[in-house]
């Protein structure tokens, strides 16, 4: 019979590595998707997944059983992603200061361009624009938007995840949507 998250957490706390393995195997793919949406990089997303579980392992004794384990993991992953994004921004600023101009922003280069039916609907230009706008959002806007739009998390949970009032999370989503509309609507109207 499949272990529920709460049972697996209790067993992992008691020192059962197999139970923690169940949690890792169950949540890794979702965390990867979230981390990729946040960072825009496969390797960074892999690192975020790894760091998320390391931190979860360390903090497992502090996890509140009444909460959702998945939401708790998402919060850790979102924070890890933000750390990476901040580090990358600093790195890019340092690189730009010393390097020749024209270095591409990693957020602009989406990987895996092989076409699928969904992706055929979106031109490369729009795709790049989406990535660029997401990259330009503030940390709070991007996290709130990714959690709401891609992960389907409700605004109250997003507020809890980010440690802010629901209203602040809501306004971050509004601003993110506004920026996306401003950037994408001209492209879409010219295409139609």
């Amino acid at each position: 019979m499949e272990l529920s998250d709460s049972v697996a957490v209790a067993q992992a706390r008691a020192g059962d590595s197999g139970a923690f393995r169940v949690l890792v195997e169950r949540h890794s793919r979702n965390l990867f998707r979230l981390a990729y949406r946040m960072t825009g990089h496969q390797q960074d997303a892999e690192d975020v997944v790894q760091e998320t579980f390391l931190r979860a392992y360390r903090q497992l004794s502090k996890f509140d059983d009444r909460a959702s384990f998945g939401t708790w993991l998402y919060r850790i992953a979102a924070n890890c992603s933000l750390d990476l994004i901040r580090a990358r921004k600093r790195r890019n600023m340092q690189t730009e200061a010393g390097a020749e101009e024209g270095a591409p922003d990693p957020m602009q280069s989406l990987p895996d361009p092989s076409p699928t039916p969904d992706r055929l609907a979106m031109s490369g230009e729009v795709e790049r624009k989406v990535a660029a706008v997401l990259a330009d959002l503030s940390e709070m806007e991007r996290t709130a938007f990714v959690l709401r739009h891609y992960e389907g998390m409700c605004i109250d949970d997003i507020g809890r995840t980010l440690g802010v009032q629901p209203n602040a999370a809501k306004h971050s989503i509004f601003r993110a949507v506004q920026k996306l509309r401003r950037a994408l609507e001209p492209l879409m109207s010219s295409a139609s």
């Binding site: 008691a14 590595s17 195997e25 580090a87 709401r148």
Partner: protein, 253 residues
């Protein structure tokens, strides 16, 4: 008639808020708002189709395999993260590794072939130790960097670990300097003051102390450097594991 606001459109799109029936009714009656909402839908639908690389069903198992060596389990004590006695032992092991490495480097070399082989073994042992040290240091730094903003943080366990890491850090830095590995020496040099600060600080940091420490770690890019050099060391460690004929001679850490 008052038109709907953009915020109402967004909440309606995501099924949030309690005004959905009223919004629906307004959209049915108002062509302007219907067009505006359709425009929002088009944009968000396009954003929705942005691709994410797929991970196969074995991805979780792969993550576990990479993660497992970093975790320590103790059924009798329950969940534990490198309990103190192990750390004392780790510091001792670090001392012995460095001592053995240096003894090997400076001992008279009468048999070149054997010495070359022994040198590769020593290099591999040291790479493993330094890689492990950087990984554990990274875990301590992440604890501070990932702390909830505006909240105090209990760092009693990290403080103890940081104290042990400081001793190891000095040994590895000295070895790196002796072997001419300036890159590793430099990152260990940057790391030491932060480890010292955590080791000599209180068990419970105030929100302000956490923020100061976070800014220091992030401002100096220490976490990033530790991650990058740690990854390079691991890569060299893998290369050092290959048969002797495939290894290019390396004298640095």
């Amino acid at each position: 008639m008052n038109h709907l606001t953009e915020e109402q459109f967004v909440l309606y799109y995501y099924g949030e808020g309690d005004g959905s029936p009223a919004v629906r009714a307004h959209l049915d009656a108002c062509e302007t708002c219907r067009a505006e909402y359709a425009s929002l839908q088009r944009v968000l639908n396009v954003v929705d189709s942005a691709p994410v690389p797929e991970r196969d069903a074995n991805y979780g198992a792969q993550v576990w395999n990479r993660l497992q060596p970093s975790l320590r389990w103790d059924r009798r004590r329950g969940l534990s993260w490198w309990p103190a006695p192990r750390w004392a032992a780790a510091a001792l092991v670090a001392t012995l590794i460095v001592a053995a490495f240096l003894a090997g480097r400076y001992y008279p070399k009468s048999q070149p072939a054997q010495t070359a082989n022994a040198g590769q073994v020593r290099e591999r042992i040291l790479l493993v130790a330094v890689g492990d040290h950087l990984e554990r240091s990274q875990t301590v730094l992440l604890e501070v960097v990932n702390a909830q903003p505006g909240q105090p943080l209990d760092v009693a366990a990290e403080r103890e670990r940081a104290g042990d890491l400081v001793a190891e850090n000095r040994l590895y830095r000295q070895t790196a300097l002796r072997t001419g590995d300036t890159r590793v020496a430099s990152v260990l040099d940057d790391l030491e003051p932060v480890l010292l600060e955590i080791a000599h600080g209180p068990d419970r940091l105030t929100a302000e102390e956490v923020e100061n420490l976070r800014q220091r770690i992030e401002g100096d890019g220490i976490l990033f450097k530790v991650r990058v050099v740690g990854s390079t060391v691991r890569h060299r460690e893998e290369r050092a594991e290959r048969p002797a004929g495939q290894i290019a001679g390396q004298n640095t850490l």
